[in-house]
């Protein structure tokens, strides 16, 4: 949820700063449709999950990880666009912790309780999935690369209750940079070097 808000906020802030949608026409985005395919591939696993993670042997896990391969490809071919390196970094951090923990993003029961998201859990045992996420419940001591997992909590009284990772912060930063740079008017020649624009 927090990344959707980050993308929407990035677009609105760019508009408030004088940016315009028509400047996006100049963005040489390549293979962007692969990101839409990757998003579609994740829908079943996120919104219609099994109660328990099946590990790497499941076609569900395979599809989830395959979708990340498509995302890596999109980032690679667009790496020169503003913010894409941050998006690539966030993607890599999230993928690393998921690969280290059976293909899903670990989250501790304590973090779930703090954020008040217990209603999303589909079980109480380690490996239980959370609805509408890529998460599995794992105690901290059983989590590899714990510091890259979903450890950052927005809890009440915050109106938004969510848990996210360091990788998600990088992704939000990348989206912010992308829309600020691409929606702004092009800088006149010489202006960057301090020459007066004529």
């Amino acid at each position: 949820m927090i990344l959707l808000l980050a993308v929407v906020a990035a677009v609105f802030i760019a508009l408030l700063r004088g940016g315009r949608f028509e400047h996006l026409l100049r963005v040489p985005l390549r293979r962007g449709w692969l990101a839409l395919v990757a998003f579609a591939l994740q829908i079943v696993e996120i919104y219609f999950p099994l109660p328990q993670s099946q590990g790497f042997v499941s076609w569900r896990t395979f599809l989830l990880l395959f979708s990340y391969l498509l995302l890596i490809l999109v980032v690679a071919v667009n790496r020169r666009l503003p913010g894409l390196l941050w998006i690539g970094l966030g993607l890599s951090l999230n993928l690393a912790v998921m690969l280290a923990n059976g293909g899903y993003m670990p989250i501790t029961p304590e973090a779930v309780a703090r954020a008040g998201l217990g209603h999303l859990t589909l079980g109480e045992n380690p490996g239980a999935r959370l609805l509408a996420t890529k998460d599995i419940l794992l105690p901290r001591e059983a989590t590899r690369l714990w510091f890259l997992s979903d450890i950052l909590v927005l809890a009440p009284p915050s109106p938004l209750r969510t848990v996210f990772s360091v990788g998600d912060v990088c992704l939000a930063l990348g989206a912010f940079i992308f829309f600020q740079r691409t929606m702004r008017p092009p800088v006149p020649r010489g202006a960057a070097a301090g020459e007066p624009a004529s």
């Binding site: 996006l24 985005l29 962007g32 990757a38 995302l71 980032v75 993003m105 848990v163």
Partner: protein
């Protein structure tokens, strides 16, 4: 004109999908969710 709108929406949706699919998805319940 249609192509202009399509291109703008394509860029926004592609970057949005790239970010959301790489990290925390959008929870349909409106109460958040992790990544």
């Amino acid at each position: 004109m249609k192509k202009v709108y399509f291109t703008i929406i394509y860029v926004i949706l592609s970057i949005g999908a790239l970010v959301l699919a790489s990290g925390a998805p959008a929870a349909f319940s409106g109460t958040g969710g992790g990544g």
